[in-house]
Symmetry: C2
C-alpha cells in the first residue's frame, strides 16, 4: 500500500515541479527584462528574515521591493512598508513554502517600474525544509541561520544549505549568551557547499549589515 | 492546469492521511496497552526540543524513551542516550515531518518493556508547519516556542498552535536580551486554543523544568 502511495506522490511531485519551473522561468524573464535583481530568503521561523529586510529597506529605500510569504497575517508586509519599501504579502493559507506561481501572481499586483526598482527580495515562509525545492526565479538564494538556533543546524538541513549562494548568520549580538561556534557552522556549510559566501550580522544592532548590503548592491550592479 | 494538480493533490493527501490515521491508531493501541504515555514535541529548528528532552531524561531516567526525528544526522539520539534514556533516531531523508508509519517502524526496534517504561517522547522534525497535520498516536501534543523566535509566531503558524495541548515557552534565560512579550504570546495562543496549558522554562538553566516534568508525570499517573 505504502509503495503505491509513494509512487503516486512522485508522479504528482514531478508534475508540480515542472509547472513550478515554468513559472520560475517566466518570473526570471520578466524580472531580468526589467533589470530587477531577485533574492530568495529562506530560514526557520524567527531567524530574523523580516528584521534583515527592514535593515535592507533603510539602505536601499524605494530601489527595493519585497514579497512577504507567510502562512497567515500581514504583519511582515506592514513592517517593510514602514521601513520605506513597497511590499506585497502572500498569505499561503497553510502551504509550507512559496512557489513560483504564487510569486508570479504577486508580481502582477506590484509596481515593477524599471526606472525606480533595482532589487526584489522574496521572504519565503519560515521553514528550513520545504522551500528549498522550489525555484522562484531568483538570481540569488540566501539561507539565514540565527545564532540561537544552534551551530548544528547546517548538517541537519542539508537540502537547503547545499542549495544556497549566500549564508547569513544573524543575531550575532547574542553570541556572548549562547554556545554557537561560528567557525564550525561555516566549515559545515562549506563541506556541503564549497562556494558559499558567508556574512555574519546582527540585523537588530546593524552589525555587518552595511557590508552585506554593499555586497548585494555589487551583485546587481555587476549583473546590470 | 493548476486546478487539476490541486485536485490530484487533495485525493492523494486524503489517502495518505487515512493511512496515517490507521498507523496512529495502531501506535496508540500498542502504547496504551503497555501503559506507556506518549508525547509529540513540535517546534521550529533550534527551539530547544533536544535540550528539553535531555532535561526530561535526567528527571525520568530509564522510565522514558525517546524517538528522534531528523532529516539527517544521529546527533540528537546520541545526546539523549548520554542523558540516560533509550533513544531511536528516525532519519527522514528529506521528509519535513514524522508520520505514524515511521513511528510504528521505530517502535518495532525499541525495547518497550512495560515494567520499565512509562513515557515515550517523540521529537518531531524541526518545522512549525507540516508536522501539525500528522497524528502519531500521541496522548499529548506539545508545541515549543523559543524566546528568540519572537512573540508573533503563534498567529503566523495557527495550524500548529491551535492543535496543541501544551505550549512550552523555552529559552526564558534570554528574555533580558530580547523583546519578547510572554503575556502577548500566551494571549494569542489562547485566542486560537482556549484550553492550552502553558509552561515557561529554560531547559539550559533548568528554570521551570521540574514543574513541567511534574506536570508530565501527573498526566500519565492520572491516565494509568
Amino acid at each position: 500500500m505504502c509503495d503505491e502511495v509513494t509512487e503516486q506522490k512522485v508522479d504528482i511531485t514531478t508534475s508540480v515541479m515542472s509547472k513550478n519551473d515554468r513559472f520560475a522561468e517566466d518570473n526570471r524573464e520578466l524580472l531580468s527584462g526589467k533589470g530587477i535583481y531577485t533574492l530568495n530568503l529562506i530560514s526557520s521561523p524567527g531567524a530574523g528574515k523580516t528584521t534583515v529586510l527592514e535593515s535592507m529597506a533603510r539602505f536601499f529605500g524605494p530601489r527595493m521591493a519585497v514579497i512577504e510569504g507567510d502562512i497567515q497575517t500581514r504583519r511582515d508586509a506592514e513592517r517593510i512598508e514602514k521601513a520605506g519599501c513597497q511590499a506585497w504579502q502572500i498569505e499561503t493559507g497553510g502551504a509550507c513554502h512559496l512557489d513560483a506561481h504564487a510569486v508570479n501572481h504577486a508580481l502582477g499586483h506590484m509596481n515593477l517600474d524599471p526606472d525606480a526598482l533595482e532589487l526584489l527580495a522574496i521572504e519565503n515562509v519560515g521553514n528550513l525544509i520545504c522551500p528549498s525545492g522550489y525555484d522562484l526565479g531568483e538570481d540569488m538564494r540566501i539561507g539565514l541561520l540565527s545564532v540561537p538556533e544552534g551551530d548544528d543546524k547546517i548538517l541537519k538541513y542539508p537540502s537547503l544549505f547545499s542549495s544556497i549562494n549566500v549564508l547569513v548568520i544573524n543575531k550575532m549580538d547574542l553570541i556572548p549568551h549562547l554556545d554557537f561556534d561560528v567557525d564550525r557552522a561555516i566549515e559545515e556549510c562549506r563541506s556541503l557547499n564549497p562556494d558559499v559566501l558567508v556574512f555574519t550580522v546582527s540585523a537588530k544592532t546593524g552589525e555587518g549589515m552595511e557590508e552585506f548590503c554593499d555586497f548585494v548592491e555589487s551583485s546587481f550592479s555587476t549583473t546590470a
